[in-house]
């Protein structure tokens, strides 16, 4: 089921989320959302919240020594967050 792109942007505002989290929150499927997120990504409205950066840094996490997401392997959970452009878009509406 298609969702307005604005809904996705609202869901990502404030809190970075993974694709699965978004799908569950919006009662959609990851497959359906993936294309829309790519559109928003290509348009510069969302970005990957990379580990080690900003609020998503592993450095402050007490679990990092046991976490397979930290360091050596490709993180299985890709966090997405709004870009400044995405935030600006929402604040204008």
């Amino acid at each position: 089921m298609s969702l307005p792109l604005k809904t996705i942007l609202y869901s990502l505002s404030g809190t970075p989320r993974t694709l699965d989290e978004l799908a569950r929150e919006l009662a959609s499927s990851p497959q359906a959302l993936e294309g829309m997120l790519q559109t928003l990504y290509a348009g510069g409205y969302v970005q990957q919240a990379e580990q080690g950066q900003g609020a998503c840094a592993c450095n402050g996490c007490s679990l990092k020594s046991m976490c397979r997401n930290f360091g050596e392997e490709t993180p299985p959970f890709h966090l997405l967050r709004l870009t400044t452009k995405g935030e600006r878009y929402l604040s204008a509406r």
Binding site: D20, Q38, S62, M66, R93
Partner: protein
């Protein structure tokens, strides 16, 4: 003879005559063989389809990105020749991957006569986004609905007639890998492809696009069939397209596009969002019409989750799986534990006696402390390796995420923060990082409460104690005994949390959003890597903490407390360690293990729980250590190799017992045990052994955990934790002993 006439040059069109250039291009186009571009999302079977249609052998893969450049197949139909150009997979024509850029460039530059759009029938809505972009090109289009077999397995049946009517282009259903329907692809593409029904955008967007198309109509440098697509992409401010147009002298067009964008934005319209939303809405509408009654057949993951997350069956399934893990651990690893603790230790001791015979004190430390102490702890490496492999399987298969989901529900039922399950599950590995993990909880009261119940979660350091006692006294029900210890730890933790919540800390539980990945079969290499890393961490502790502790215990066992004995020449019971242990032992008499040996092993257990078995090894095997004789290298290797082969055979033969029924009675068979297990079976009864295990499970955690609690929550909380856990351990062990001695022989 006449003078040669000067050669007159032929009249040539001026190089800047764009009309002449366009005429030449058109003439060449008319004369060339027709070309069709094959376009589609990644992994929809484009290359397989091309191979099936053209009889070629282009490389195919079952994952995205196999085709990373365009490739061409030439085929004939009667007298007609067609070039099929296989393009890399693209989710859209707003490129942000190299593959998408290649596809978009080909659409703009190849002057295709027709487009063949391949779609995944099981993922129609998503695939239609690209289709709707293709319809913005004024190029005849035909659709291939591929993978219809997989879609039907998922309960998705697409009505191709409706799809065709909605899009205004022909549609062929195929299964490319089985060449089903592929015969119809070429005739449809050559004879029926047509310019379909394009998306109608909002009036403001359509007006702006019209302005830009009108601008482009005055230019001969841009392909006419792409004008509408280019106009929309410029309104979307596609950076790669803008770069290309700027480099080819289209500054005026870009300025016009900027003007239109500014005008739209002044009306509160974001062109990119508006255009994309119109396409998604149209794709959704078409998908709903073409798949009117999707029966949403359950996927394997959904079927498994119906069981794994069932409100009533979920927890029993979790407990049964944990039991299965322990049974597997016992069946496969026990023979190797006995091998290391028995024959291999004997060989190592024999070699040590031979090598260090001239240095008696060093020989005594190695043979009397390090080998029985550290060696006993290390003998559990196979157990841990198998356990960690099994746990990695559960984690990587996706099941542990479900277990966390179940635990979360339970947590909230007890009035705990839903996120408390993370440190509690971590506590099964090691309590120390689990205490630090309580930082993820928002309120201090939650952090303190979870830290206080965490030590009841049975960490891997306690496993060797359970295993050696189970092997000694419950060889036919070892897995059940270990499983019971883990369950008891959880029950005590939850009861304690429940009681605290109702006495001092009101519940304010909150939900937590959990990732539930699809089930998959884990990669062996990854499982092995995780299991090996965790086992290596345990081995490291054996050569640091455990080594230091057994050395101290050895010194304490060597200090005489009675006259007539000298250092290292004293019976253990008369040593400082023996005397102190004996003084404390009456406290434990009501628990069934009131002798100094059992009591003494608990004392260094404060340092690290695995030291309990190391100390038991030192105490019970000291007599044997004194009798060890020198062993030659070859003889030792032969002895070790023979014992290893026996262990392998026993391990393989024991596999069927994974599903055998338990027996809680004491062992009466002649099962071969390690020397320590034999000693323990003589020193303990089944009831006192169970009591001992319960005490080891529940009594004060190691100093590192206490240190972590103190660092996180202060000294008071740390001391309170030490005190109440000792109390709870004593009471629980007493109750278990009193009940068990009535029930067990």
């Amino acid at each position: 003879m006449t003078a040669p006439q000067p050669v007159q040059p032929l009249p040539m069109p001026p190089l800047n005559d764009t009309a002449a250039c366009a005429a030449t291009v058109e003439r060449l186009r008319r004369n060339r063989e027709p070309r069709a571009l094959v376009v589609g999302n990644p992994n929809v079977g484009k290359t397989t389809l091309v191979n099936a249609v053209a009889g070629t052998n282009l490389k195919v893969g079952n994952w995205s990105g196999v085709t990373v450049e365009k490739r061409e197949a030439r085929l004939k139909r009667g007298e007609q020749t067609l070039h099929l150009i296989d393009l890399p997979g693209a989710y859209s024509l707003s490129p942000h991957t190299p593959e998408e850029l290649i596809s978009r460039t080909a659409l703009l530059d190849e002057a295709a006569d027709a487009l063949l759009n391949v779609l995944d029938a099981g993922n129609l809505e998503r695939n239609l986004y690209l289709t709707l972009q293709l319809l913005d090109f004024q190029i005849p289009l035909a659709l291939v609905l591929n993978l219809v077999d997989e879609a039907e397995q998922k309960g998705v049946v697409v009505n191709t007639a409706v799809l065709s009517a909605e899009l205004g282009v022909p549609v062929v259903a195929t299964v490319g890998s089985k060449s089903q329907g592929t015969n119809a692809v070429l005739p449809t593409l050559l004879d029926q492809a047509q310019i379909g029904r394009r998306v109608e955008y909002s009036a403001a967007i359509e007006y702006a696009a019209g302005v830009l198309v009108a601008h482009m109509n005055k230019l001969s440098t841009l392909p006419p069939q792409a004008h509408r697509y280019l106009a929309l992409s410029l309104l979307e401010s596609d950076p790669s397209l803008r770069g290309r147009l700027a480099a080819t002298g289209h500054a005026a067009l870009l300025e016009a596009a900027d003007t239109e964008r500014d005008r739209l934005e002044a009306q509160g319209i974001d062109p990119l969002i508006d255009i994309a939303e119109a396409r998604y809405a149209r794709a959704s509408a078409i998908a709903q019409l073409a798949i009117p009654d999707a029966e949403s057949r359950l996927t394997l993951t959904e079927k498994l989750d119906r069981l794994a997350l069932h409100p009533l069956l979920g927890i029993p399934i979790f407990l049964a799986l944990v039991l299965l893990v322990f049974r597997l651990t016992f069946s496969v690893a026990s023979p190797f534990v006995d091998l290391i603790a028995g024959p291999l230790q004997e060989v190592a001791s024999g070699w040590a006696v031979g090598l260090l015979g001239s240095v008696p004190l060093l020989k005594d430390i190695v043979v009397g402390a390090i080998i029985p102490g550290v060696g006993t702890v290390l003998s559990f490496l196979p157990t841990l390796l198998v356990l960690y492999l099994a746990m990695s399987f559960l984690e990587d298969s996706g099941y542990m995420a479900r277990a966390a989901f179940l635990a979360d529900r339970l947590m909230r039922g007890l009035g705990l923060d839903g996120r408390a399950f993370i440190p509690l599950i971590l506590g099964f590995g090691c309590n120390v990082p689990a205490v630090y993990a309580t930082r993820t909880l928002e309120r201090r009261s939650d952090r303190v409460l979870v830290s206080m119940i965490l030590p009841f979660m049975s960490c891997s350091a306690r496993l060797p104690v359970y295993v050696i006692f189970s092997a000694a006294l419950f060889p036919h029900a070892g897995a059940w005994v270990v499983w019971s210890m883990y369950m008891l730890g959880m029950v005590v933790a939850f009861v304690f949390a429940w009681a605290l919540r109702r006495t001092s800390l009101p519940p304010e539980g909150s939900g937590v959003l959990l990732e539930l990945p699809p089930y998959r079969f884990p990669a062996w290499a990854v499982m092995w890597k995780h299991a090996f890393r965790r086992t290596a961490s345990f081995a490291k502790r054996a050569r640091t903490t455990v080594l230091a502790t057994v050395a101290v215990v050895w010194v304490l066992l060597a200090i005489p407390m009675s006259s007539g004995y000298t250092f290292n020449q004293v019976p253990p019971a008369q040593s400082l360690f023996g005397r102190v242990s004996e003084a404390i032992s009456p406290v434990f008499a009501p628990l069934g293990f009131g002798d100094w040996q059992a009591t003494g092993a608990l004392i260094p257990g404060f340092v690290a729980k695995e030291v309990v078995v190391g100390t038991l090894g030192q105490i019970y095997l000291q007599e044997q250590a004194a009798q060890v004789t020198s062993l030659g290298l070859i003889q030792g290797v032969q002895q070790a190799a023979s014992a290893t082969w026996e262990a392998v055979k026993t391990s393989v033969a024991a596999l069927p017992t994974v599903v055998a029924l338990p027996s809680l009675s004491a062992d009466t068979t002649a099962v071969q045990k390690s020397p320590l297990a034999t000693a323990l079976s003589q020193a303990f009864t089944p009831a006192s052994a169970l009591s001992y295990l319960v005490f080891v499970l529940l009594y004060t955690p190691c100093v590192a955990t206490i240190g972590a609690i103190q660092a996180e929550h202060g000294r008071r909380v740390a001391w309170v934790t030490v005190a109440y856990e000792l109390g709870i351990a004593w009471v629980a062990a007493f109750m278990v002993y009193q009940v068990a001695r009535l029930l067990l022989p």
